[in-house]
């Protein structure tokens, strides 16, 4: 793949910011959108917009086909067995909340264990904290190695027969470490537990096969993978989703209703109360088409090249510390520039047209583990090039010089 050509497909990247051509290195927060996705949204609203699963009119049929067509694409994209296993949600957060709430109501009891890692994003942490508080279940954490990786033996040591669910991210949004989720799934299953994989940072960047991983639940967001905000997917094994009760009730998700009772629609619609995020799903479908066209393996390879180059160039900057493993990592680099606070670093970079993230990245426990209050993060995607890394490095050198004089 040719990142320079791909970049041309992203209109937003053609602008100048603060007098410099924009270098966007914050795709782990949200990715930019290619013209095909923007056009799909526009076309949907200009031609097909109607509510789904209701009207008999032509637009209603088109909208329904577009919405359910997106579900088929999502199912194929992660190799689900069927579209019944694909629930559309608002994003990864609401997908995880759905599972956590459902487990809190029907599965978890006092003394049960929920196994997490200290590197979880708040979205895969707080729902489980709440589930534990509501049920008396206990939270257990798989310890991290010094470089921020997880060893399988520590998974084995942490998961017990009292564990009901293991919830783990596939890729850390801070460390970039890639976790052994397939192996962890096997461990969980050996103990009769389920595993939920947070796929927010993995799905946009690598080929995911939920059957191969054998995970029970897998959650991801559209907006990090070239799609619109407000749409995400909860994949769940059919037999599990069938046993789970909906957590949102209302129109669209019901089968039969009388004054005192109601029954639910079949999967996946029983989890999709209310008018769904139709345009979002259409946009997600277009994003999947786009990523498939480029090729997930090509994207992964490209990011590996860029990240290796970034690690090499960033290591040349004296006083810059890099967090996370050096090898087998995803396309992001989290760092601190000496004593300069990441906010100050990010402001200087922004003045140079380079957009990075600074803060705790919704990972406060992990920040404490790293013994920092905040970090800076540059994250890469298919539209980033080596030249972007060069711009990052020269902007960082400027920041260093600027604050070197100021702080002394």
């Amino acid at each position: 793949m040719n990142a320079a050509q791909i970049r041309e497909l992203f209109p937003i990247l053609r602008q100048e910011v603060n007098g410099h051509p924009l270098v966007y290195l914050d795709s782990a927060a949200t990715s930019q959108k290619p013209v095909s996705v923007i056009e799909a949204l526009k076309r949907y609203y200009e031609w097909d917009n109607a509510n789904v699963h209701r009207g008999v009119h032509t637009l209603g049929t088109r909208a329904t086909e577009a919405y359910e067509g997106a579900r088929e694409k999502a199912a194929k994209f992660i190799n689900a067995r069927s579209t019944q296993e694909i629930v559309f949600t608002r994003g990864t957060t609401s997908a995880i909340n759905l599972v956590a709430l459902s487990f809190a109501r029907a599965v978890l009891k006092e003394g049960d264990e929920i196994v997490l890692t200290p590197m979880e994003h708040h979205s895969n942490l707080i729902p489980w904290q709440q589930a534990a508080k509501a049920t008396g279940a206990t939270l257990k954490y798989i310890p991290l190695q010094e470089d921020g990786t997880i060893r399988l033996e520590d998974v084995e040591r942490t998961v017990t027969d009292r564990t009901r669910i293991v919830a783990m991210t596939c890729v850390s949004n801070v460390l970039g470490s890639v976790n052994p989720v397939k192996e962890a799934a096997a461990v969980a299953h050996r103990h009769g537990a389920c595993i939920l994989v947070d796929g927010a940072q993995s799905t946009p960047h690598m080929r995911i096969d939920v059957q191969d991983l054998d995970c029970d639940f897998y959650a991801f967001s559209g907006h990090k993978m070239c799609g619109p905000t407000g749409i995400g997917v909860l994949y769940g094994k059919k037999e599990l989703l069938e046993r789970m009760e909906p957590v949102e009730f209302g129109g669209e998700m019901i089968d039969h209703v009388d004054l005192h009772n109601a029954t639910w629609k079949e999967l996946p619609w029983k989890f999709e109360g209310g008018t769904p995020i139709i345009a979002g799903a259409v946009g997600l479908g277009a994003a999947i088409d786009f990523l498939e066209q480029v090729g997930l393996d090509e994207i992964r390879e490209h990011e590996r090249r860029i990240t290796d180059y970034a690690l090499e160039r960033l290591s040349e900057i004296e006083g810059l510390s890099i967090y996370g493993p050096r090898r087998h990592r995803a396309g992001l680099v989290t760092f601190n520039l000496g004593d300069v606070h990441p906010h100050d670093v990010a402001t200087v970079l922004d003045a140079e047209g380079v957009a990075i993230r600074a803060g705790h990245h919704c990972c406060q426990p992990l920040m404490r583990w790293l013994n920092v209050t905040a970090t800076a993060r540059a994250s890469f995607y298919l539209y980033n090039t080596e030249a972007d890394v060069d711009r990052l490095v020269s902007a960082l050198l400027k920041a260093k010089e600027y604050f070197g004089h100021a702080i002394g």
Binding site: H343, D344, V348, A358, G359, T373, Y402, F403, A406, G408
Partner: protein, 140 residues
Amino acid sequence: MQLDDLYRRVIMDHYKNPRNRGKFDDDAVTIELNNPTCGDRISLQLRVRDGIVEDARFVGEGCSISLSSASMMTDAIKGKTLDEALGMADRFSGLMKGEDVQFEYDDLEALSGVSKFPARIKCATLAWNALRKGIELARQ
């Protein structure tokens, strides 16, 4: 975008040599506040007697803007009544909106550039939000 509008020398001086950094070991009014969006933290202490801020100290973790703002603020409120301190907090909010306001402690005016960097306003106001809470506590 002019970085020097934001990072004026006086700001960097307060960042490098923070005034009133530390903790009292008596029963001074203590306020812990953090900025949930970025992780900055401040612990502000006020020694208030007869409605007057006799002394103030802080410890904190944060960027140059949040720490220099805390340093200046603790200096500026010393010897002021709670009402005067609150008035200063109000004027500081105005400064962050780009209003033309004056302070007796004129180092504070160096922070006026922050108003041009909307993403950094919450850094500058953290200490002042702690002050507002502290004034409330001191009045109880």
